[in-house]
């Protein structure tokens, strides 16, 4: 079943009148099925994060439509959009920048529950219990509740971000370079946890990354973007084994991980 449909979306920014326009997205269409992980790759400036912002309805497309479960985001009344936002969450790249240093872990993870309280009333005690559950889900403990972000390592911080994203029981997560700031050994733990969560909580992922090895490990299908356009989409293994476009071929050839494979298997 199609969860999210992006149809012929175009996004144009006009930074300053005399500078003309920047076409961030041009004729972008894609569909996400419930339960799958779609990998989105492309170089800086290719429009990956703009697309994420539009899908979360943080910005409106210049033209084209985005619908979630058949509801078109731009025409939705504010109250309905708020309800929809419970279902869509995001985890950002830099766990050092996306946590408020002056809030405790308890307040950080509970914040979505507070914001959406009207739709899901909850006593303070129930909220605390929910936060403890969420921390357990991502491998953290009750004793971490009162700590501040600076007391955690990068991997632990990213776990806090993931716990926060899961607070409202979403169906769909956008993971925007969630492991780029982490060491490989920690990245491996976080990736395995994300796979495990996806299965357990029946989540749908849009996984944005410039690391092709990570995409290959995580994604069922992959979409390649360049200069605001989609240049190739297909099943992950098919795209990696036999890329159709020159751009995708170049990207895969340039990926450092492939050299590691060549050396290790020789």
């Amino acid at each position: 079943m199609t969860l999210l449909a992006v149809d012929k979306v175009r996004k144009v920014y006009r930074p300053r009148k005399r500078d003309g326009e920047v076409v961030a997205l041009d004729d972008v269409s894609l569909a996400l099925d419930a339960g799958e992980c779609l990998g989105l790759v492309g170089e800086s400036g290719s429009g990956k994060s703009t697309l994420a912002r539009l899908i979360l309805a943080l910005e409106a497309p210049t033209s084209g439509t985005i619908s979630y479960r058949g509801n078109e985001l731009t025409t939705l009344p504010a109250a309905d959009l708020l309800r929809l936002r419970e279902k869509m969450q995001i985890v950002f790249q830099d766990p050092y920048a996306s946590l408020n240093p002056r809030m405790t872990v308890q307040d950080i993870v509970a914040e979505p529950l507070v914001i959406h309280e009207r739709n899901r009333p909850m006593s303070a005690r129930a909220r605390r219990d929910r936060v403890v559950d969420l921390l357990a889900t991502v491998g953290l403990k009750r004793e971490h509740l009162w700590r501040f972000p600076h007391e955690f390592s990068g991997g632990q911080r990213q776990r806090i971000c993931i716990a926060r994203a899961l607070a409202l029981e979403p169906e769909f997560l956008i993971l925007d370079e969630p492991t780029s700031a982490l060491d490989v050994s920690v990245q491996a733990q976080v990736l395995n946890m994300l796979q495990d969560l996806q299965q357990r909580l029946k989540l749908t992922y849009l996984f944005i990354s410039h690391d092709l090895g990570v995409i290959r490990y995580m994604a069922d299908r992959v979409t390649v973007m360049q200069h605001g356009r989609i240049v190739e989409t297909g099943a992950t293994e098919a795209v990696f084994r036999a890329p159709q476009t020159d751009y995708a071929k170049g990207l895969i050839a340039a990926s450092a991980g492939s050299d590691l494979d060549v050396i290790a298997s020789a």
Partner: protein, 339 residues
């Protein structure tokens, strides 16, 4: 003889909680024409090793308890600031991770390159191809010409025009090329590159690594390439030193180390990289955390996380032992782990 040889280098950092032993007896050798990858995770001491070679670690808080850094036969540990300043930029070039913060936004790139060239010329007049008696004006003109030539060498198109551009007019990859040109303008013998491609896209990264390889062949450079990315090491390096918690745990030719890793940490690190053949859930993370460097484990620093640890592992630091030509590992169980 090796161009650079680090012998038993110990560095500790004073902090409020005590002395952190951040480099615990580093041994490393580098010859001309080699690109040696220095690889390890955050906080393992790889950047401090690079900074130690160019003597850019402030003392205090740093304190070198023991060790030598031999560069072309001279022990850099005994040189004073003035002598060291002469080496930097002329014999030892450096590039760092973020090309944006390492260029001054207020000056044209040519201006910044000319500064470096003139500094290098003060130590070695040959750099500009002029005699010692050349006027200041002639030197400037020659330095400008050299800047243009270097920009061309690193693959920047229209260098005659681009030399007058400001850093913000270059893309990330182009800025890193400018930094490489600037590091090489004084014709150094040794280039220390600390995460030179981490901020760049994969295709640009591949171009920069190719450029470094070509320059090594052309100029007979030695490169110490510091990175956390094993793929980058595979792509460009001839040799690799693997660091863990202030120690070099494995050292050898890249092909040999990556095909048959002999230290359990190297094995674990390679197992954590997402690779083509891995199925769901097959990626192996590393259990446990990096040791506290103020109170490090008494024996092998990897022992608390090591799947192969035995009683004897806690009894003192295992030295780097030669296993076969050009491949050594610091593990007492290495002999049992036949390849």
């Amino acid at each position: 003889m090796a161009l650079l040889e680090i012998r038993d280098l110990h560095l500790s950092m004073r902090s409020y909680d005590g002395e952190a032993h951040v480099l615990n007896g580093i041994d490393l050798a580098l010859e001309r024409g080699q690109i040696r990858g220095l690889v390890g995770e955050t906080g393992c001491g790889k950047s401090l090793t690079g900074l130690s070679v160019s003597r850019l670690v402030a003392t205090p808080p740093g304190h070198y308890a023991r060790g030598e850094i031999l560069f072309d036969g001279r022990n850099l540990m005994t040189l004073d600031d003035r002598a060291m300043r002469k080496l930097r930029g002329t014999r030892i070039g450096m590039i760092f991770q973020d090309p944006t913060t390492n260029l001054n936004p207020a000056f044209r790139v040519g201006e910044q390159m000319i500064d470096v060239a003139l500094h290098a010329a003060a130590a070695d007049v040959d750099v500009l191809g002029l005699g010692a008696t050349a006027s200041r004006r002639d030197k400037r003109v020659a330095a400008h010409r050299l800047a243009v030539e270097m920009l061309r060498k690193v693959g920047i198109r229209d260098p005659e025009q681009r030399v007058d551009d400001y850093p913000h007019q270059f893309s990330g990859g182009m800025r890193q090329r400018v930094l490489i040109a600037m590091a090489l303008i004084g014709r150094p013998d040794l280039l220390i590159a600390d995460e030179p491609t981490t901020a760049l896209d994969v295709t640009v990264q591949a171009q920069i690594l190719k450029l470094i390889r070509e320059l090594v062949a052309e100029l007979d450079l030695a490169v110490l390439l510091i990175t956390h990315n094993l793929g980058v090491v595979a792509q460009v390096c001839s040799h690799v030193s693997v660091m863990y918690a202030g120690n070099i745990v494995e050292d050898g030719e890249v092909a040999s180390v990556f095909r048959v890793p002999r230290h359990p940490y190297t094995t674990a690190l390679l197992g954590a990289v997402p690779r083509a053949h891995l199925g769901r859930g097959e990626l192996r993370g590393l259990a446990g955390v990096v040791p506290d460097l103020i109170k490090p484990p008494p024996g092998c620093r990897f022992e608390p996380r090591c799947p192969l640890a035995i009683e004897a592992c806690t009894a003192g630091r295992p030295p780097l032992m030669l296993i076969e030509t050009g491949h050594s590992a610091a593990c007492i169980r290495v002999a049992e782990r036949a390849p």
